[in-house]
Symmetry: C2
Subunit: 441 residues, 2 copies
C-alpha cells in the first residue's frame, strides 16, 4: 500500500498519456529522461509488464536501483513477465533476504493466493502488552512492510493465533495483553486458493488485508486489497474477451503482438464457422422449398438474427450473475422458467413488429402478392419460436458449460448465436411448411 | 473499513446461500431469526438494496438500531434504494449529527465522488507536533471514523493543506510539526468527479483513500478503496450487460422484476430487429438472382454470421481496452490499420475453410453440380470481404459511439452483428454477380 500520493502533474503525466503507443525501446528511453522527482511515482504506477520492459533496457546499475524499489510480491510479478533466461540475472540484483522471499513466492501459481501475497506483514506475540505491541509496530513501521494496519499474532511455530487492527490496539487499554484484544478466529485464505475466490471474500466484507496460511495453519503472508483491485480488473477483462468469442489476451490490446492476437481470435472463429456450416446443411435440406418460394430467403437473416440477439442478452445476464455469485447451478430450473417466459414475451413483441413490416410493405409496394397474409403469419410465428429458443439457449448454455467444469463466460454471444442459427433455420422452414404448404409451397 | 473479521461459519453463511432465491418478506423474516452474534456481520455484508428491504420490514425499534449501525455514506446508499416516501421516516431515526451528514451526502449524485464519500475522516492541524497528532488521532480512533490511516491536515477554513499517513507519523520524530511531515501537494478528487474516473485514480496508484474537495479547496470527505471495489464491480456489470445488447439492470438479475427486465431487453431488441429488416430490403433487391441460383441462399447464414462473429471479437477488444484507458480516441487510425490487417488475415483463414467445405461436399455428394468451383470461389471471396468488414466495423463503432459522447459499451455484439449483416448481404450478392454472372446467374 502506498504513502499518500502527490498530485504534481507534469512530464510523468504526459508520458503516461503517450505510453500505450510507444514500443519498449522508446519507453525505456523516455523513462530515463524523466526527472528524478517523477520517475519513482511513474515506475511504481506501471504494470508488471511495463516495469519488466523498462528494467531489461536499463544499464545494470540503474536496473538494480529500480528493482530494489519494489516489494517482493511485485518483484515476483515482474519476473513472471520476463523470459526465463533473464530471470536469474534479475534475482542476483536483489539482497539475500529479498531474493529468498521472491524465490519462495515464485513457487506459487500466479493466479493463487500464494502468488498474490506479500511475505512482509506485521507480527506480534500473544503475551505482549498492547503498549509493547504498539512500540514494536512503531519499529516495524520503518521497515518496508506491506501494511501495519493489521498486526498478526503468531505463536513460536509461526502459527496464526489471531489478528488485531491497529485501531483496536490504539483504542485498547495499554496494559492489556494482546491475547485479550485480538480477534481469535480470523478469516484466513489457503495458499492455493484461486484469486477469484480470494477476490470474492474481499468483496463480501470490505477487508483491507487477509492472512494466507498453509495446511498446518502457519502464516505465510498477507494479501492486500490493492492487489485485489487489480485481480478484479484482470478477471473482468478475461471474462469480457471470452464473452466476445475469443481466447483472453495475456497483455493489454496494444501490447499484444499481431501473430499472438490472430491465434487467440482464429481458433474460436474457425470453430464457430464450422458450427455455422451446419446451417448450410440444414438449408440444403430445404432447397426445394426455397426454389418454390424465394421470398422465404428474404426474411431468413432477419429471423435467424433475432434468435442470436435475444440469446446474447440472456447469456450475458446469466454469465455475469454467475460471475458475481448471484446465480448458482441449482437455480437452473428457476431460471429456465423465467427465461422461457421472457423469451416468449419478447418473441411476441418482435413478431408483432415483423408481421407489421410485411403487411406495411404489402400495402405500399405490393411486395408479397396474394400470399402476403400467410407470409406475415409465417414470419410472426417463426420469430416467436426463434426468440424463445434463443433466450432459452442463451440462458441454459452457461449452466451446461459450468456443469462440465468450464468457464461459463465461454457461452459467448457468437457461440450462442451459432447454436441458435441452426435451430432458427429449422423452425423457420418448419413453420413455412405448416402455413404455406399447399399454397405457396 | 472493517475490523479484522471472524470466520465462524454458521446460520449466517447458510442464509447467505439461500438469499438470492428469497423474496423480500422471507428475507426480513429469516434475518430476524438470525442469532445476535451473526446478525451484525450478516447485515453489514448485504448490498444497500438488501439492507433497505430488511429495514423497511422491521419493527420501528429494531429499524432504528440497525440503521444506526451504518456509517453515514452507507445510510445515504440505503436511502437511495427506498421509495422517496419512506426516506424521511428513516432519516428521523438517526441522531441529529448523522442526519445532517446524510442529508448533505444525499445532495450528491449517486455516481459522483460526493456520493461515494464519507464525511468522517481524521483531521489534524499543521502546527501540532507529531506526538500531539498521534495522541489526537488516538482519541478520534474511538469515534466511528471511516479510517484513521490517513490524517488530513486542514487550516481554520477547512481547506486541505496536506496529508500524512499514520505510518509516516509513526516513523517521524515526535517533536517535529505535522507541517514538516505531511505530503503538501496531495492528489484530491473534485466532489462532482464521476465514480469511474475516481476508480481509475485508485487503480493507477493503489491508494487506500483519497480526499474529496469542493471548488474552494475545502475538504468534504474521503473515498476509501473498499467503496471503489464495489464501484468497479458495478461498472463492469453495467458494461457487460450493455455489451450483451440490452440496457443495464438496476439490481441483481434475480431481484429484478419480470416487467422491468422485459423493458430493459425489449428496447434494444426491437431496435436491432428494425435494423435487421434492412437485410430483408437488401435481399428483396437480389430476389431475381436468388430465384436463378437458390444455392446462394444456402450459404447466406454462414457468410453473414462470420461477419457478426468477427465483429463481436473486435468490438469486445476495443470496448474493454477503452474502459481500461488503454486505448484513446486519438488511437483510431492505429487501430483501424491493425484491425484491417487482422480482419483480412482472419478472413483468409475462414475463406479457406469455407471453400474447402464446398469442394469436399461436391466431391462426396456432388451437391453443387457443374458450378462447384465457381461457388467455392464465391463463398471464399465473400468470406474474406465480410470478415474484413465485420472486424473493421466492430473496431471502429466504439470510436464513433464514444465520439458522439455515448458509452462505447453500447457497441454491443448484437449491434455490430446487425450493422454487418446488411453489408454482408450486399458483399455476398455483389461477389456472386461478379463470379457467377453469365454462368449460374
Amino acid at each position: 500500500m502506498t504513502p499518500p500520493p502527490s498530485s504534481t502533474p507534469g512530464v510523468g503525466e504526459s508520458l503516461r498519456e503517450e505510453w500505450p503507443a510507444l514500443d519498449p525501446d522508446a519507453r525505456a528511453a523516455a523513462f530515463q529522461r524523466l526527472p528524478a522527482s517523477e520517475a519513482e511515482e511513474f515506475f511504481l504506477g506501471l504494470s508488471a509488464l511495463g516495469q519488466a520492459q523498462i528494467l531489461l533496457r536499463l544499464p545494470e546499475r540503474e536496473r538494480r536501483l529500480w528493482l530494489r524499489l519494489l516489494a517482493p510480491d511485485d518483484v515476483a510479478d515482474v519476473l513472471q513477465e520476463v523470459e526465463p533466461a533473464d530471470r536469474e540475472g534479475l534475482l542476483q540484483l536483489l539482497d539475500t533476504v529479498t531474493r529468498a522471499e521472491v524465490r519462495a513466492l515464485l513457487a506459487y501459481a500466479e493466479d493463487d493466493a500464494g502468488g498474490l501475497m506479500s511475505p512482509r506483514f506485521a507480527r506480534v506475540r500473544p503475551d505482549m502488552s498492547v503498549e509493547e505491541a504498539i512500540r514494536y509496530l512503531q519499529r516495524q513501521a520503518r521497515d518496508r512492510l506491506e501494511t501495519i494496519y493489521y498486526a498478526y499474532v503468531l505463536d513460536a511455530g509461526q502459527r496464526l493465533l489471531g489478528v488485531c487492527s491497529f485501531r483496536e490496539l490504539f483504542a485498547a487499554s495499554p496494559s492489556s495483553p494482546v491475547r485479550e484484544v485480538m480477534e481469535d478466529d480470523p478469516v484466513t485464505i489457503d495458499e492455493d486458493t484461486d484469486q477469484e475466490a480470494v477476490a470474492r471474500l474481499f468483496l463480501r466484507y470490505g477487508f483491507l488485508a487477509l492472512p494466507v496460511v498453509d495446511a498446518e495453519g502457519r502464516m505465510k503472508g498477507i494479501v492486500t486489497i490493492d492487489d485485489i483491485v487489480d485481480v478484479l480488473q484482470e478477471e473482468a477483462t478475461e471474462d469480457v474477451q471470452k464473452y466476445g468469442g475469443m481466447q483472453a489476451l495475456d497483455a493489454p490490446y496494444l501490447q499484444t503482438g499481431f501473430g499472438s492476437m490472430i491465434r487467440k481470435r482464429a481458433g474460436w472463429l474457425t470453430l464457430l464457422f464450422l458450427g455455422e456450416t451446419l446451417t448450410a446443411s440444414a438449408m440444403g435440406y430445404f432447397e426445394d422449398a426455397l426454389a418454390r418460394a424465394v421470398v422465404l430467403a428474404v426474411f431468413l437473416p432477419l429471423i435467424v438474427s433475432s434468435g442470436g440477439n435475444s440469446g446474447s442478452q440472456a447469456s450475458t445476464l446469466i454469465v455475469r450473475a454467475m460471475a458475481l455469485g448471484e446465480v448458482k447451478l441449482r437455480d437452473v430450473w428457476l431460471i429456465a422458467r423465467r427465461e422461457f417466459l421472457a423469451g416468449a414475451t419478447l418473441g411476441v413483441i418482435l413478431a408483432a413488429v415483423g408481421a407489421l413490416r410485411v403487411v406495411l410493405w404489402q400495402a405500399v409496394f405490393g411486395s408479397y402478392g396474394e400470399h402476403a397474409a400467410r407470409i406475415a403469419l409465417t414470419v410472426g410465428l417463426s420469430v416467436v419460436g426463434v426468440v424463445t429458443l434463443g433466450t432459452l439457449t442463451g440462458s441454459m448454455l452457461p449452466f451446461l458449460i459450468r456443469r462440465c467444469g468450464w468457464d461459463p463466460a465461454s457461452a459467448s454471444a457468437p457461440f450462442v448465436a451459432t447454436v441458435v442459427d441452426v435451430g432458427g433455420v429449422v423452425i423457420y422452414f418448419g413453420v413455412a411448411q405448416l402455413i404455406l404448404g399447399g399454397s405457396l409451397l
